[in-house]
Symmetry: C2
Subunit: 610 residues, 2 copies
């Protein structure tokens, strides 16, 4: 279907919004009146600009407080409308959004509302303009879509139809099934917005917290499907009032917006994209640094072995169990401090995954590879992390490991680490990457979550607030259904803080106590945790005194839920990166959120050298 | 009364919080458990630290989900409590806050709750500890203060009392009058927090939006008065969960917090401070710059005359009518760009105003003056702007103008400007400073508003959201009752934006059209406003075509309300500063908020050179 977006959804002056909308690939725009009023472009110039950019102007909006008013007010309102019709003719826009009135002087009289709207439609028709009447969720007398439709039906004018808005419908808990009762040709427009489920004043909710489809808690697909089934022929148009999007860059927000529509079309059964299939695990995590020496030290202490090197790039492969870390010294540009720059995920069909990613507008990473390089498909996540679709050492696909040459010494360090007394892998060895945590730019939290769901096929948990000593960290995990890939997305508390956006790699072991002792024995240190935490742990959980003493000795944090236990501890931070060791037992699926405040406090103290 | 504050109200690690609390001048603290758990200090060390700082530990909190549970849970909860009693003994804290349960397994049985709380109090008494039972507004079965008191009464144990919390009481709309029915000695603690009036889930409201007394919408004074009248002997203690305070500096937040308590004590009739009396007008506004040449050009175009110079500082006085601008080139430190650094306000009794400011912890500005200098009393507002209490050329007080020497040329430029054809002041002259607008650091909006009310005796309007192209600007005006002094406090939209914090001086005239023409005639420019704005103005208001054309020609914005009209236009921005010309007719009291989006868009375009 055709796609459109209201200019109010993006930041900046009108001309920049239009460019961003066209560049992202939308077919049209809704011109939000305030954007025109603040623009130095005349309506004719806006019309030309849109034509040059290949954008249709699908709607001019909003026109407020028109209907069900006394005669003298009606006369003033019709005069006001005529002025707007004149602007619309200059713009070349032929559809005007009229919101249900919130004016105190409007009366609760459907017949009067219908009569006055018929009059308005008649005037509009003289200018070749049509009127789309929409129920605001907080309209004074008309606040539901079926009520707005009854008035439109009663008015019975060819230039008068209704506008459906998913926020106004779903925020009131209305059932979208009733849309099927509206003739498709009388649905003049469909505006789409999602929103997190919140118990708050609906006007404030609408004005500040709307988000793009799939980023909130509403189920938009049935609403869209019902509207299309009713015979709606217009565009799918986004209208999102959001405090964050108002500040973020228009270009990236527009891409994010169009992606949300493409995914919504897919889930509503209106389009078919290359199917998503969740990755089964991490192929690798890549750390980049000008000087990798400190990272090598940590990896060595963690028991990793340097097993191979890239045939022609300055990249080392370090391995332990199924955990693979790449150390890349090919730093280009400003990134100097060690940083996590790429993730490889094990994907059943890498080619299809890449096609899907491209179809939903994931930025494809330019392939800087030589002839010999394995065909690695990669896209950039919103925070810039590169995601590679991999199939590691399977017969049906070329493996990225083919680009690496094994080191002759490979067997030695691995044995030292992985084998216990009887030559079997020690339980204290690292098994694999458990999860990866990435701090997101503060304005891309919702975008990142939708990206990982829509592009990678991961599922999102709810959002949590974690108490950092200097503010709340918003956190949300996305994971494959079996937990093979888990990514934790965090938003740092202070948006004006210039501090590094921390990232960490959590490594799974079956014996965290043994693993921690091994790290300490190697001379490396673990993050010290306050003794007060263990007093509290003892009060909350009836742990054996000996076990508690061991946890306290090693700085291991503890959590449990109805399914199992979670134990975790942390290395020091190198550049922007640190490592976590985790041991899960039973079916524990979380990330130890209960302990986050204590861990964050400890990390702040550690970095201050206390 | 004694003052206290919960450590959760401030940012940073526990040791820094304690220092900030003591430095601000509080008598005690509530130790919030998570702050202790994240601290490397042992309970004994915290006890010592508090003793060194002269702080009492008034409360340890919170203990959750204790009462009205099955027997096995009770046993576990008592075990948990014993561990906390042990921590409290090490801390030297003798009062534990127990919140009403939210646990699903708790039952709605007051007798059982009372019985189990009696048991808890009995155990506590063995350690010399008392229990303060508080109703959470979202408690599962107990959510009102009178219900919590009935259970405490029923339990009838000397070590069991109730804790009152203004947020939990007022957020539910409970009437604090009932507090009079509780014996004072059974009110073990009083926690105070304000909050903006919001229609939202009460738990979210409480966790994120609490603020200090006087910064929100609750009427705390009657609640405090009722509690003290009932015989309450404990401290007034602040417990504020606020996303912004969690990020702001602990030291300044602690001062802000104590100021709010001092003002609350005053309004509850518990203390007497030097009385506030609202200033009657602006004595001057002081602009500081390394190079004042661009400012001189603007002032000259506005019709100001350089009338005097400071006897020994590099400060010029520019005058027009009652508007006085000081240009200061004595720049110390980093401020290079022109900036508004000080405001003088006409105050009936400057000495008393200064005593009041000091009494409510306004930072006194060090007097860098020589022998001859007039006794100017000044304090620093939260954004750093210096506020001088003045009495300009009145017989009963030394005037700051005494430090200035009139220039011989004084009469000439004034005449040119102020006199019309018949030698009378032209209506197009500037009369006085209408208002001053200051962009606040993003985390000091509520603090600034309370400062200007509590220190200067101004009254605050409601908070507005203004749409800037790059985000919403929060705006709130504080003004004297007669409008003689008006200050607009704004919060820039993007907290991570490094842009300058704009300030502006609005100048009142009786003939804005004449004033604008004079400025243009002098060769200076005014901010151009989009023609689309005037199309819309015509649609909204039935202005005469000629008048509309004049407004459009000069870039004058227009608003009106039921009392009168407001016309305003803007100069270009110099450094961080620009000027606004305003003409008010009738009783219009606002600031043209309706036009803010268009003006902000125009300023962005102008600064980008479009």
């Amino acid at each position: 279907m055709r796609t459109s977006i209201a200019t109010v959804s993006l930041s900046g002056p009108l001309s920049e919004k239009l460019t961003a909308v066209a560049t992202a690939g939308f077919d049209g725009v809704e011109i939000f009146e305030n954007d025109l009023l603040g623009s130095p472009l005349s309506p004719e110039e806006v019309r030309l600009r849109c034509a040059d950019l290949g954008l249709s102007i699908d709607l001019y909006q909003p026109f407020r407080d028109f209907e069900a008013v006394p005669a003298d007010t009606l006369a003033r309102n019709l005069r006001r409308a005529e002025r707007k019709f004149a602007v619309m003719e200059r713009l070349g826009a032929d559809l005007l959004l009229v919101c249900s009135s919130v004016a105190p002087e409007s009366v609760d009289d459907d017949a009067l509302a219908a009569e006055q709207l018929r009059l308005l439609a008649d005037r509009a028709a003289d200018h070749g303009i049509r009127i789309a009447y929409e129920a605001l969720a907080w309209g004074r007398h008309v606040s539901t879509y079926d009520h707005a439709w009854r008035i439109v039906e009663q008015a019975d004018h060819p230039a008068l139809g209704t506008c459906l808005d998913s926020f106004h419908i779903l925020s009131r808990g209305s059932d979208p099934k009733g849309i099927a009762d509206i003739p498709g040709e009388k649905i003049f427009f469909l505006q789409l917005a999602d929103a997190p489920l919140m118990a708050m004043d609906v006007l404030q909710w609408s004005r500040h917290y709307r988000c793009f489809p799939g980023q909130g808690g509403f189920d938009l697909a049935p609403l869209v499907a019902a509207t299309v089934a009713a015979g709606y022929q217009g565009p799918l148009s986004l209208e999102v009032f959001n405090d964050v999007f108002r500040q973020a860059g228009a270009a990236s927000t527009a891409v994010d917006a169009l992606r949300s529509l493409l995914l919504l079309e897919e889930s509503a059964g209106l389009s078919v994209l290359p199917a998503a299939s969740a990755p089964s695990g991490f192929a690798f995590a890549e750390l980049t640094a000008a000087d990798t020496e400190p990272l090598r030290g940590v990896l060595d202490a963690l028991g990793f072995a340097h097993t191979a090197r890239h045939t022609w790039k300055p990249v080392e492969l370090w391995e332990q169990g199924d955990a693979r870390i790449l150390l890349n010294t090919g730093v280009s540009g400003r990134r100097q401090d060690p940083a996590l720059t790429a993730i490889g995920v094990e994907t059943p069909e890498p080619d299809r995954a890449a096609r899907r990613a491209e179809a939903v507008l994931a930025p494809v990473v330019p392939r800087r590879r030589a002839q010999l390089d394995a065909p690695l498909d990669a896209v950039a996540a919103p925070d810039g992390t590169e995601i590679f679709f991999c199939r590691t050492e399977q017969a049906d696909h070329i493996s990225w490991t083919g680009d690496f040459t094994e080191l002759p010494s490979r067997a030695l360090p691995k044995e030292r680490v992985e084998q216990g007394e009887r030559g079997e892998p020690s339980a204290a060895a690292i098994r694999r990457i458990d999860h990866i945590a990435l701090t997101q730019p503060w304005h891309q939290f919702d975008e990142a979550s939708l990206f990982h769901r829509g592009v990678l096929g991961l599922e999102a948990d709810g959002s949590l607030d974690l108490a950092d000593p200097y503010g709340l960290v918003r956190s949300r995990a996305v994971a494959s259904p079996d937990g093979g890939v888990r990514i934790v997305l965090n938003i740092a508390p202070a948006p004006d803080a210039d501090g590094p956006r921390l990232q960490h790699i959590a490594l799974a072991t079956d014996d965290i106590v043994g693993a921690a002792r091994r790290i300490l024995a190697s001379g490396a240190s673990l993050l010290p945790i306050s003794a007060n935490y263990y007093d509290d742990l003892e009060a909350r959980h009836d742990l054996e005194p000996e076990r508690l003493a061991t946890l306290a000795e090693l700085g291991i944090l503890y959590d449990r839920d109805e399914n199992g236990e979670f134990l975790h501890c942390y290395t020091a931070t190198v550049g922007r990166v640190f490592f976590e060791l985790v041991q899960r037992t039973g079916g524990y699926r979380g990330y130890g959120a209960q302990n986050a405040a204590v861990r964050l406090a400890a990390q702040h103290l550690h970095q201050q050298g206390v």
